[in-house]
Symmetry: D3
Subunit: 249 residues, 6 copies
Amino acid sequence: MRILVLNPNTSVSMTTEIAKAAVAAGRCDAEIVCRAPYFGSVAIDSGAESYLAAVGMMDLVARLTEAGEFDFDAVVVAGFGEHGRDALAEMLTVPVFDIAECSAHIAHLIGRRFSVVTTLARSIAPIEDRLRLAGLDAHCASVRACGLDTATVDSDPEGAIQSIVDEAARAVTDDGADVICLGCAGMSGIAEAVTAKLGVPVIDGVAAAVALAQAVVGLGLSTSKAGVYAPGPENPRSHWPISHALGLA
Amino acid sequence: MRILVLNPNTSVSMTTEIAKAAVAAGRCDAEIVCRAPYFGSVAIDSGAESYLAAVGMMDLVARLTEAGEFDFDAVVVAGFGEHGRDALAEMLTVPVFDIAECSAHIAHLIGRRFSVVTTLARSIAPIEDRLRLAGLDAHCASVRACGLDTATVDSDPEGAIQSIVDEAARAVTDDGADVICLGCAGMSGIAEAVTAKLGVPVIDGVAAAVALAQAVVGLGLSTSKAGVYAPGPENPRSHWPISHALGLA
Amino acid sequence: MRILVLNPNTSVSMTTEIAKAAVAAGRCDAEIVCRAPYFGSVAIDSGAESYLAAVGMMDLVARLTEAGEFDFDAVVVAGFGEHGRDALAEMLTVPVFDIAECSAHIAHLIGRRFSVVTTLARSIAPIEDRLRLAGLDAHCASVRACGLDTATVDSDPEGAIQSIVDEAARAVTDDGADVICLGCAGMSGIAEAVTAKLGVPVIDGVAAAVALAQAVVGLGLSTSKAGVYAPGPENPRSHWPISHALGLA
Amino acid sequence: MRILVLNPNTSVSMTTEIAKAAVAAGRCDAEIVCRAPYFGSVAIDSGAESYLAAVGMMDLVARLTEAGEFDFDAVVVAGFGEHGRDALAEMLTVPVFDIAECSAHIAHLIGRRFSVVTTLARSIAPIEDRLRLAGLDAHCASVRACGLDTATVDSDPEGAIQSIVDEAARAVTDDGADVICLGCAGMSGIAEAVTAKLGVPVIDGVAAAVALAQAVVGLGLSTSKAGVYAPGPENPRSHWPISHALGLA
Amino acid sequence: MRILVLNPNTSVSMTTEIAKAAVAAGRCDAEIVCRAPYFGSVAIDSGAESYLAAVGMMDLVARLTEAGEFDFDAVVVAGFGEHGRDALAEMLTVPVFDIAECSAHIAHLIGRRFSVVTTLARSIAPIEDRLRLAGLDAHCASVRACGLDTATVDSDPEGAIQSIVDEAARAVTDDGADVICLGCAGMSGIAEAVTAKLGVPVIDGVAAAVALAQAVVGLGLSTSKAGVYAPGPENPRSHWPISHALGLA
Amino acid sequence: MRILVLNPNTSVSMTTEIAKAAVAAGRCDAEIVCRAPYFGSVAIDSGAESYLAAVGMMDLVARLTEAGEFDFDAVVVAGFGEHGRDALAEMLTVPVFDIAECSAHIAHLIGRRFSVVTTLARSIAPIEDRLRLAGLDAHCASVRACGLDTATVDSDPEGAIQSIVDEAARAVTDDGADVICLGCAGMSGIAEAVTAKLGVPVIDGVAAAVALAQAVVGLGLSTSKAGVYAPGPENPRSHWPISHALGLA
């Protein structure tokens, strides 16, 4: 089984971090390939950056397909609350997994109320939006922010642990959460440390998505093409793929 | 990995059928044990039968625990819409999976709107209730009934295919479903045939639950004991385990 | 008019307490009979105990029916948030009343936002679930716990008053409740004292259910058998009634 | 126990009809007084007429209070979906019951999904609004209209039976209702005939409200004055009570 | 373009204040006429006063129509949370605007979560009700009260600023509001001062409604008469218009 | 007042059509500038095309800003259900209006239940999503598709009228809509014809957005920067603006 894990931003260190988490969650027979877009921003902390990332991932998948190199059984979008899964689900016949949604699914399976601890307060609303549209908000006790931006978490995940633990503790005490979801792919790798401090299950989104990708592929299932994820009418498009038009290889 | 799959009713043929579906969905390194309660009804088509089944499964788990024979990494409750998962989650430290909830989780991952096709019309409301309490009703397009009771489906699953296909086709056309969940453990084994006729993904609950059990166990996660699933205060209880009091072995 | 009031647990003192509250709420022409199951637990503080209680009450009703002794115009289930009403509604042609639902109905009639004060925090979620499924959660300001378990409240209701008053006062001040529902049948009898301290109406569930039973019976109405409460298909059942199989008389 | 039943419109025949239904539902020890406002419209089929009725009932209650003649234990507002209950609840210390809300409460107690059959299609939305604000819409399968206006139903209730039965039958078949609420006080008296034809319980709102009034008064409860129903600040008001200013006696 | 702005209460100073705010928001080609009912209360702080105001405005519109003096392109109801818009929408062919709804519409257009700061706590619930029925509650972070009644705000708007600012600041900090709606027509004229202190946009309802009236009239649109706002069946009505029957001119 | 109207796709004819509708809705003192992105697709009928359009509009606004040519009081995004408004709201200090949201706001102001008639069935879900996130779905009776893709509607709006009228008629009859929103910017210009045939108000999104832009700007209000629309942290971004990197001028 081959799984393509997409880091929606262009940070090399975060791509490495995500790959590590994905490989750790993968079964022995799984081959994980982790890639970042050809263009975009080094971290995603706004709606504008998120749209840019969505197009960057679409572009990368288009390039791989064009080159006959798209040879994967599943795709994981490793941005927590970012846009893009629906577009890739239209473009591909293999299933596409979003780490925010996958975290929430796992949280439902092991608890009754989960909270998300993300980076900046400005990312709370987009995450709430993603969960609502995914139909996964009813058991969400809260989305909270640790106050550090994505780049800071990316550059020093260990240093972020205390802020995340503090906010997660508030989610447990004040909001009644019994499961915590780490709300940023850059937090991959610190789940264990946070669990140890809090005593409640803590979910890493990248691991959750890889695990669910393996489950769905193992069931022989993929995205339904009977509804909104059917391939689009392919209206004429200029400068596409953008990375190609930009001469990036 | 050892998974205990519980048939909530006492039908031997359905236990066999469920075991077959569970084994088919299990990875090569998974050991599946399928059991039915010591007492209860041979099929579940009412709230009363469902409560009886919940207690029957609790009893079986208590017996296994008492005898030091509970040696499983996860439990699957193979009743679609039946009660009981929450009680077992309280009793056990390993995670417990319900086939209705697991079907809905998988449906979310591969489509936008799912419908359930169950047995009798009287089971529609309880399934709606389970999905609502599990926070998984927002993307449910409909719960429909094929009109055959559980025993009939159990005794002749092949013969039930046409009724299920007809109702599922209505779900796709009239309700906009792009994924179908088979709403009875007795329907395990006909998913492929229904998919072939409808052209939309069809989910077998037992397979879905086994796949998700493997995913969660693989992630090293289990039921949160920080909330409602903490072990109960164990008030004094008479005639417990009931099967023991009844002299059943 | 004859009303059967069922204590879902096996505590003799709570059965007595419930009977007292029921009789006090009954009209002069009402005959109240209060019964506990043949088996079960002495208090209900978990999902497992609640399912056991549901089956215990089903068993008792089956025994009474079998013996030709079911001669009641209505049944009251005196467990706050416990399972079982729907199963009894299937089994019987007379109406069945649940004290959590009845408390909420009365609360709607006399206020705009009610809070429930129950025993342990672990019982909050099940009560929220019951109200949601009953369609009675929209005006529920909060479900709060006084921190005492059912057995403690049962053994010393007077001693529990202060804890209940404190929590109810928070519901009024912090959650905007203008009516309080006592969330445990064991709290019957202290409504007046709590009202006196808080100055807002306080509802005792047993009294509420008896009053509504009288209202519905007086209207000549009973459970609709046109939907989910129609009698079940009566699949073959082993060891039923359980109390009979256990040799209890 | 003395209950004041208010017909919100000025039709003498409907006042008589309502009084009959109320008396039939009253216990032997209940004294029912039925009154219509001093001014207003002879039937209520619009928002404007409903507001006028609310003020008419406020005026009548103010006149009775002023004259020292308000000597009732409860008030029933006999308009289905009409405004006014909240204003009277502010003005009075005894509890006030609305027939739409009371019908819905009784429907919850005896079924799982109820439908309302009212007069004109234009009254559907206001009834939906009332149920939503009362927190009683979750189990409402539909509000349907028989197509006859209030005056027509008032003048010939028997003649309206067939239209009501037809629409109620659609509610049962198409919307899954297992209980029917008659959505107009002018339909009082035909519940039995409709039940006979449909085989599902049919609720007359006036009877439901009288029964619930008796239940609440019997419990020694009344409107909470701790919230929105506290007496108003009594800003200076001109020409009040209006009927007095109009010289009506 | 001629716009009729209705003050639902009879306070002359508030009518003047509202007129000032409306004129300030009107385009140069707009003619604003501000009127109060012939009868009613000098401020609205209860449901009873609100119903009286609804009838007072209906009466005024009926008088104007009767006299052939209703020559307006739009009507604005300048009561925040008061009843009446739907009745006027039925009576008139020109569009009718409610300041609570219009404030919420503008808030949606410029922010993500708005809070309302109204007068007394008792007005919170009615405002919540209006927003819910208008389908505009999902983005409402909170409705808060500054603790001053309408007459006090009316007589000294400047003096009320600090209380309003304090409560609005809590809405921003505690509830996450990024837009504030002034929840009383008597607060017209202090929006600028509050904005200056809080640094978030503050919406004056009268200005919002005049702006939206101009927008809708400019689009050539008006109230749909295909649904609930179709003219009523005009049942015979006594003493109508009331002000006429009272001999007021 | 200067308003920038953005056509999210690159069709020249649709840009012209949109400009015409915008100018028609603009007041005499409004200057309307209509622009399309430098790159993208000629029509938007999928999630992928919508994300591309969002980035295309962001790019155009960045170019205008960079060049010191962004001199507008408001921006209108003329794509019905397309992404992008939130990103532009972050980037700009002037308010940004989305035609789907603006259509829904106007619909609320003139009716009780609106339906949207869009192009292809695959666009129904994204429009439902936009309305839900905007908090404007509660009064949405339905989103329906006329079955013609955007390019077809764009090339021959007159020819599309009958399909749109047919579907809108179903919305009125079957779903109870009393207002119709034209769910595609390419439908601008046919509102009048559809209104004439249906007899219910029909809203053109471009006109609605221009009218609301004028209203908000007239009120002196703009996007709140206190919440999610605050300017982003501006993480380093490669190849931005893309059109610049592509050498487009």
